[in-house]
């Protein structure tokens, strides 16, 4: 399937030029007030989203709303710009938003049944809207149709009928949940199912080696984080391993996950060899983020493939995180040193 990568990448370059970086964040921190930050933000590409959010909310929720709207609007416009293989690969890249949103749908139904099945559907729609970021193939309209379904199996049916790639996985996980009522197992099934679908989709397409490498490193990063999260929780670790990584094998994963909380990581191969001895999730998170950043940057050189879009999506999420950090910092009056230290983790 052919794709007009030239057009897509040209548009993405334009979008990249508008990305806000640490310089913007630093100047917002120096300005020192939330109002000054909102004024600065209203002079950027976030202006229309901020204006739209101003009608719905105020203060910090307004900025959060504007950031979420901007991210969702950006991914939707990318999907509109792309065609052919580029659109399919973009769909794969954005599928994690769908997986996260499906877990929110499941949690909403679970919370409703835990309360005894009551509750207004308007409330459910409002709480789901606040807990989802419709930046993938599932837009707010589909999510609303799912949450207003009679029960979770019917919501899964809505997804299957839409022909979403996660539909069969979600339906299977929901069927198991209907028998057990175990939300934890349902969430694990969605997470592992999502990675399996992504792997199948990538294998179906002849993706460039750099993109494949990035995907493998991202799986390694997920496995490293998961191993540290599982550590000391008395869970059987092997079942949370996501196959398809490059460096972190299942044995290494189980070794990390079975070690005592706070214990140093075993020596890892490049590019995770620089993670050091720190065995806590926060420091590993910082190291893993810098590895992913490096690999994402390595994708931008091929003008006729999906790499530039991949890097842009990575940078866009990072920008959103920076803005949320600075917005909160200025809103709550967090000391600028603390904020700068957190910015250093970006």
């Amino acid at each position: 399937m052919s794709s007009n990568y030239g057009y897509l990448n040209a548009r993405v370059r334009g979008l990249r030029a508008k990305l806000l970086d640490e310089t913007f964040a630093q100047s917002a921190i120096e300005a020192g007030s939330f109002e000054a930050f909102v004024t600065s933000l209203s002079q950027t590409a976030y202006a229309p989203d901020l204006e739209e959010a101003r009608g719905r909310r105020e203060g910090l929720p307004m900025v959060d709303d504007a950031i979420a709207t901007n991210v969702a609007r950006t991914t939707r416009s990318l999907l509109r710009m792309a065609d052919g293989r580029a659109r399919e690969l973009l769909g794969v890249l954005l599928m994690r938003f769908d997986a996260a949103n499906l877990k929110s749908v499941a949690r909403t139904f679970h919370a409703r049944s835990a309360r005894g099945g009551g509750g207004e559907s308007d409330d459910a729609v409002a709480s789901l809207a606040a807990a989802t970021l419709p930046a993938g193939a599932l837009d707010a309209h589909i999510l609303e149709r799912m949450i207003t379904a009679a029960d979770l199996p019917n919501a899964a049916q809505v997804l299957v009928l839409k022909g979403h790639p996660l539909g069969p996985t979600f339906r299977k996980a929901v069927a198991a949940y209907a028998a057990s009522g175990d939300l934890f197992e349902l969430e694990v099934a969605i997470d592992l199912g999502y990675h399996e679908v992504v792997r199948e989709r990538v294998e179906e397409h002849d993706v460039p080696p750099a993109f494949l490498r990035y995907g493998q490193i991202e799986i390694d990063a997920t496995n490293l984080r998961t191993a540290l999260k599982v550590r000391g929780r008395g869970l059987e670790p092997g079942r949370f391993f996501v196959p398809g990584g490059r460096v972190v094998s299942k044995d290494v994963f189980v070794e990390i996950a079975s070690s005592a909380p706070g214990a140093a990581l075993p020596s890892l191969r490049a590019p995770f060899d620089a993670l050091g001895d720190g065995g806590d999730l926060a420091s590993v998170e910082v190291g893993v983020r810098s590895v992913l950043e490096r690999y994402a940057k390595g994708l931008v050189h091929d003008p006729l493939d999906i790499g530039l879009v991949t890097h842009y999506l990575y940078a866009k999420e990072r920008e959103a995180a920076l803005l949320r950090l600075v917005a909160r910092g200025t809103f709550y009056g967090v000391p600028s040193d603390t904020l700068r230290r957190e910015l250093g983790h970006a």
């Binding site: 949690r107 919370a111 606040a130 989802t132 997470d191 592992l192 990675h195 999260k229 998170e285 949320r324």
Partner: protein, 223 residues
């Protein structure tokens, strides 16, 4: 209004027993109060530490929530909050402390509920915030437990002090005064009796003397 008591010896004995009992009661209550004050001050140290722990846990929890909202996104945090409608079961036993029933609260163990959401997809900062808020909940329950004990013991100290004061300031002086009054009346009566007896004795002695004089005069006349 002062109670009117018959100034009898039996009442005097009864009041003396009451005074002995009241003194013993006041002494016991003072010892109870001292023990409770000791317990209170020990608990104050624990309570202050629990408050410090709560402040620290609160700062850490809200900072972690701040970072989770920034790095993982408010949507992700709210999504996890949807699923975590768990109830916290707190074990409470009632302990008898110097006759005071004080609650003993066991902090909940969140270890079983740790696997509330999939570790594969959850953000590291959000997971950290979840752990920190569990620690905050434990700290709140610990403060509630120590402060409830503290309040109950404080109330009991106040109650015991009031009882000691009532005994020392009212009951014991009242009984002592009654004893004094009865003893005074009884002493008065004893004195009156002695006087009467003395007067009778004097009269008898005077009569004996008069009889002796009359007999002597009669003997002299007949001689």
């Amino acid at each position: 209004m002062a109670e009117t008591i018959a100034p009898t010896r039996s009442n005097l004995l009864q009041r003396r027993d009451q005074l002995k009992l009241a003194n013993r009661g006041a002494d016991l209550l003072k010892r109870k109060r001292d023990a409770l004050i000791g317990e209170f001050f020990d608990l104050v140290k624990v309570s202050l530490q629990a408050r410090r722990d709560l402040t620290k846990a609160s700062q850490e929890a809200y900072l972690s929530l701040f970072l989770a909202n920034a790095w993982d996104g408010p949507e992700a945090v709210r999504s996890l909050a949807l699923a975590s409608g768990t109830t916290v079961e707190v074990g409470i036993t009632v302990e008898n402390l110097f006759g005071v029933k004080v609650p003993q609260v066991q902090a909940p163990d969140f270890a079983d509920g740790a696997a509330a959401f999939s570790p594969v997809g959850v953000g590291g900062r959000t997971l950290d915030a979840s752990v920190q808020f569990k620690a905050l909940t434990e700290a709140i329950i610990r403060v509630a437990a120590t402060e409830t004990r503290l309040r109950r013991i404080g109330e009991e100290i106040k109650k015991t002090s009031r009882r000691v004061n009532a005994l020392e300031q009212l009951v014991i002086p009242n009984i002592a005064r009654q004893i004094k009054d009865i003893r005074s009346v009884l002493d008065q009566r004893a004195l009156e009796e002695v006087t009467v007896l003395k007067r009778i004795k004097a009269k008898l002695e005077a009569r004996d003397a008069a009889e002796k004089v009359a007999a002597a005069e009669e003997a002299a006349a007949s001689a």
